[in-house]
Symmetry: C2
Subunit: 363 residues, 2 copies
């Protein structure tokens, strides 16, 4: 800790370097978009939560890929793998949902240092549970034994888990934020905690000699630290699809994953956002912040801070969204508004933060 505040870069994830490297990769990939011809061509610019490809028949195929990150290390420390299986579904279906698509299928890619049948059984159970909640079939996948490529929390324990989800959406019902107008309401759906982003930072500040252990009960969390960190990422498919079926007034859908509320800036709209009524973040966020003396702007950049998914809706459609949340047992509340005057920015007035580009700063 060296007595200085810890930022995400110093905890092992170099975001700026990643951005510049990624730009060189994407420069090539953007040139592939015309290769399939009319059927198969992408209909959205790259960089949104999911890509959409034109399948003909007025039908769009949404596709997105993501991994569970270093949460796999917590699973290894705990010897518990069911949650991470569910997470593999969650991180992908929540992204596909952001274009207004219904997720239908997922394939998983599991790289392991060693095959552990009990671990595979638990992962399978978790994938099943995630698939059940999301209404997707897992009809394929790949397990690669690549001991020379991996390492983990203990010799032989290493693994990496990612997935790819596909969904379908009518081309004339794609949601990408282009219809967002000044005054539209942002409805925030409660997260279950830290989800799958910022685990590198959380582990860096919470675990280690003289700090917490994954087995230790933490009174303010009401559970062990490991249980808190492993808590499955919430799956927002059912309430959001329900709302999409009941109203055409939904203008934006955002999975609040890495980059926190900056994800709202991925919408294809000139509007910015003012979030005035954020719910209290769960205790785990305060624990990370205090243990690592992590600046508040860093916390809001890395973490969901209690809101895992946002639905942007016309004022008259908000009640429909809230009713859909309630019908499916999800906590949701209006947390702010789209604001034309805030072009390209996310303002959190109560927290004294403004986000722009890739970071938050104090107001």
């Amino acid at each position: 800790m060296h007595g200085k505040p810890l930022t995400y870069a110093s905890a092992g994830v170099d975001v700026a370097r990643a951005e510049s490297g990624l730009a060189r990769l994407l420069g090539w990939l953007d040139q592939t978009h015309a290769f399939p011809g009319a059927v198969g061509r992408p209909v959205l610019k790259s960089g949104f939560f999911a890509a959409v490809h034109d399948l003909g028949h007025g039908l769009g195929l949404a596709i997105s890929t993501d991994n569970v990150g270093t949460k796999s290390l917590v699973a290894q420390m705990m010897g518990r793998y069911e949650e991470i299986g569910s997470d593999c579904v969650a991180v992908n279906v929540n992204d596909v949902l952001c274009v207004g698509a219904r997720p239908i299928a997922l394939v998983d890619y599991l790289a392991v240092e060693q095959v552990q049948p009990e671990m595979l059984e638990q992962l399978g159970k978790g994938l099943y549970e995630g698939a059940r909640q999301a209404g997707v079939a897992i009809a394929g996948g790949e397990m690669a034994q690549v001991p020379e490529l991996l390492r983990g929390a203990a010799p032989g324990a290493g693994f990496d888990l990612s997935g790819t989800c596909v969904g379908i959406v009518a081309l004339d019902r794609i949601v990408d934020g282009r219809g967002i107008q000044d005054g539209d309401v942002v409805v925030g759906f409660r997260s279950s905690g830290i989800h799958c982003n910022g685990l590198t930072l959380a582990r860096a500040v919470l675990l280690g000699p003289g700090r917490f252990t994954v087995e230790g009960l933490v009174p303010e969390l009401g559970c062990t630290l490991g249980e808190e960190l492993l808590r499955p990422c919430r799956i927002y498919v059912r309430p959001v699809l329900d709302a999409l079926e009941r109203t055409q007034g939904i203008t934006g859908l955002a999975h609040i994953s890495g980059d926190g509320f900056l994800n709202l800036l991925r919408f294809r709209t000139p509007c910015g956002f003012e979030l005035t009524d954020l719910p209290e973040p769960q205790p785990i966020f305060r624990l990370v912040q205090q243990a690592g003396s992590v600046p508040l702007e860093e916390m809001y950049q890395v973490y969901n801070m209690g809101v895992g998914f946002c639905v942007v809706a016309r004022p008259e459609a908000v009640d429909v969204v809230l009713a859909s949340a309630q019908r499916h047992g999800y906590e949701a509340q209006p947390i702010g508004h789209a604001r034309a005057a805030l072009q390209g920015r996310v303002a959190l007035p109560k927290e004294g933060l403004v986000g722009e580009g890739k970071g938050f700063r104090r107001n």
Copy 2:
């Protein structure tokens, strides 16, 4: 080497253990198939080269995921990444092709120990080249910086690359081998060499103190060992789609990847196969076999041995398949026949081998 013949299991990939562990995972995943309802449901049993999901409109969505395996370690040793980018496309599009689908899109998942912009540029170029050859768009992907999960050929060099490909196929034109009849002809398409399977074994027997280096010129290969091992996996999309458009006489399509010609046993047919006219394997295979005293049955189980893709066709459709190959500049030749009497087996009479289940044995 310890003076004893090297098998795939002793070189670091425990196939039997993987099979049993995987069965426990798949037991859960098979139960997810009904979750999407009518639209989205899988229409093939799991375990084929690609899954196919019913999209309505008579349209099937094919999906498959695979990685480039430990070929990434050779890329790291050489500091050359373009080939591996193309491979990421190849291993996935060739699988999707096996259900008769036209690949349309691919997403890649790249886990890196460190972000290296030059490496990302080369990977991007290779992905672009693969996408161009396959006619797919790469509209999305994920790069994860997970240094704690990875290791590689040198500190910071580690990475793992996988992809997921989707394609479309008319539900009434799905090819899965169920139409294969006794006497159907197997047309073998030439591979470019070792492709992406068996690199663990190849590295184990060829590289190391007192053996070859990746930089060393190997006279019988006509290039350096590294260049030979990195040679991109051939992409069979264009000639095979061309043939599928010209004839309805194609009854089976098999990507000859891990498990070699045993992949023919994935067809939904009671017929087995007799391969009487296999082309001479490329010199790299002899080099691996001799350097490691690898039994011939092991070689045929791990490697493609010169044939990267098989098209099974009615005798009257063979000329169409061969003409499509020639039109697109691919080498292909009839290599054998489907045989009702060989149920569940692949016989290689000239090599004195019979394959069944997961292995070959001497006849």
